[in-house]
């Protein structure tokens, strides 16, 4: 099946991604789109100026909580010169979700302690 690529860029996201609540709202929208198993969400952060760790946790950590190991296949990223900052902020966001899962799910064995 041909993948259906959905692109979210600054025209969708804006350039300041800060409030956690907005991350939550977009997570819900993303998960609705990703119910189509052929869908891949490409998040283009190349024009984003500010990304808060709380927003990253709600959006990307929240998607990870539902997709788990399928996350890298279903969600991809595009960066610009802001790659390092965006990458590390996304990593912090997902890490917070992973840590929460580790604390709350004693059977979660997907992640070895680093």
């Amino acid at each position: 099946m041909e993948p259906k690529v959905i692109i979210w860029d600054s025209s969708k996201l804006g350039t300041r991604l800060v409030p956690r609540l907005k991350g939550q709202q977009l997570k819900e929208e993303a998960l609705r789109l990703l119910k189509d198993e052929s869908a891949i969400l490409v998040v283009d952060l190349s024009s984003v100026e500010i990304l808060s760790s709380g927003y990253a946790k709600e959006l990307f950590g929240g998607i990870w909580e539902c997709l788990g190991t399928a996350f890298p296949e279903r969600v991809r990223f595009t960066f610009g010169s802001n790659r390092r900052i965006m990458w590390n902020t996304i990593a912090r966001g997902i890490s917070a979700s992973v840590e929460r899962r580790r604390r709350t799910d004693t059977e979660f064995s997907g992640v070895a302690a680093d």
């Binding site: 300041r16 800060v18 409030p19 956690r20 609540l21 907005k22 939550q24 490409v42 283009d44 100026e49 500010i50 808060s52 760790s53 709380g54 990253a56 946790k57 950590g61 990870w64 996350f71 890298p72 969600v75 991809r76 990223f77 595009t78 960066f79 390092r84 900052i85 990458w87 590390n88 902020t89 996304i90 990593a91 912090r92 966001g93 997902i94 890490s95 917070a96 979700s97 992973v98 840590e99 929460r100 604390r103 992640v111 070895a112 680093d114």
Partner: protein, 312 residues
């Protein structure tokens, strides 16, 4: 009629004295009217402005009316802006010359914003960032850092302060108060909420259930410390503190009856006079470098996380 005389200068360093003065107004009863006398006032810093308006709102909730007496020729500009939320009686004539002076200097401060939802908060942050850029021409990185910090701190107020964690209604239960002032070479930003306070918030996390209020404020500056019941990176206040430290600025936090002061060399916690929520104020020096890239651009999350992030 009871009167509260606002001092000639309300500065960040002496804010506790001002908070104590305001707190006396809590003994007022429903039906009272309290006069805030600004006739001697020349300057109120942003932290004083947000505190003043928050206390005024608290009084009004108790059925106490508030009015202000001002001397239009003398009053400080930030206080003047704040008085838009006070009914005011002008006790001296409005002189055009001084009015012009006030309009000139009033440009240095932003009008106090009582933000009741995300859109208003975003707008307030953008207004402040634009004002700072206009007045101080800070370095690009410092401006971005200030933008980032205000956003994080204001979002903390709305989220942790007011316990708006999962699918909350769009309107905040109480306002988030934001104000700023561009001084000669630095900017002060103040963000205040009337929420649960840092101590109560952090105790939601089982790791911090037994911490004291003083330790709670210290821990709030640590990376990965958070009272968010559904997990949080715990990065917002930590990163702000690191950037402020690197800028040689100063961070003040009033919360849970404690006051934390942080500069580049120390963190000090003592008794504080704000008990109704959290007040975060910071001073950033416009021409100093700010380690935004170094702080936000680093993480130590492990290989598993790295493998989850793939580029298109």
């Amino acid at each position: 009629m009871p009167e509260i005389a606002i001092p000639s200068r309300v500065a960040l360093e002496s804010l506790d004295d001002f908070l104590e003065l305001l707190d006396l107004s809590h003994c007022r009863q429903d039906g009272d009217t309290v006069m805030f006398d600004f006739t001697k006032c020349e300057h109120v810093c942003p932290s004083g402005v947000v505190s003043l308006v928050a206390y005024r709102d608290l009084l009004q909730l108790r059925g106490v009316q508030t009015i202000a007496r001002i001397n239009y020729t003398a009053i400080g500009y930030a206080a003047l802006r704040a008085l838009k939320v006070f009914p005011a009686s002008v006790t001296s004539r409005e002189v055009d010359v001084n009015g012009k002076h006030l309009r000139q200097v009033a440009g240095k401060s932003t009008e106090l914003k009582r933000c009741t939802n995300l859109a208003e908060t975003e707008e307030a942050v953008q207004t402040i960032v634009a004002k700072i850029n206009d007045e101080l021409s800070p370095t690009v990185v410092t401006l971005k850092a200030v933008d980032y910090m205000i956003g994080e701190i204001a979002d903390n107020a709305a989220t942790h302060g007011y316990k708006r964690y999962k699918n909350p209604p769009p309107e905040f239960p109480k306002p988030v108060y934001i104000c700023s002032m561009a001084y000669k070479d630095r900017v002060e930003v103040a963000v205040l909420d009337r929420g649960q306070g840092i101590h109560e918030s952090l105790r939601t996390n089982p790791d911090y259930q037994d911490v004291s209020a003083s330790d709670a404020l210290r821990i709030s500056l640590h990376e990965e410390s958070s009272g968010h019941p559904y997990g949080s990176p715990g990065f917002g206040l930590y990163s702000a503190a690191e950037m402020i430290r690197g800028n040689r600025g100063t961070l003040y936090i009033w919360s849970s009856s404690r006051r934390l002061v942080m500069d580049e060399t120390r963190v000090k916690v003592a008794k504080g006079k704000y008990q109704q929520g959290t007040l975060v104020s910071f001073v950033v020096r416009a021409s100093n470098p700010t380690p935004y890239d170094e702080v936000v651009g680093e993480s130590d999350v492990g290989a598993y996380i790295d493998e989850l992030i793939r580029e298109a």
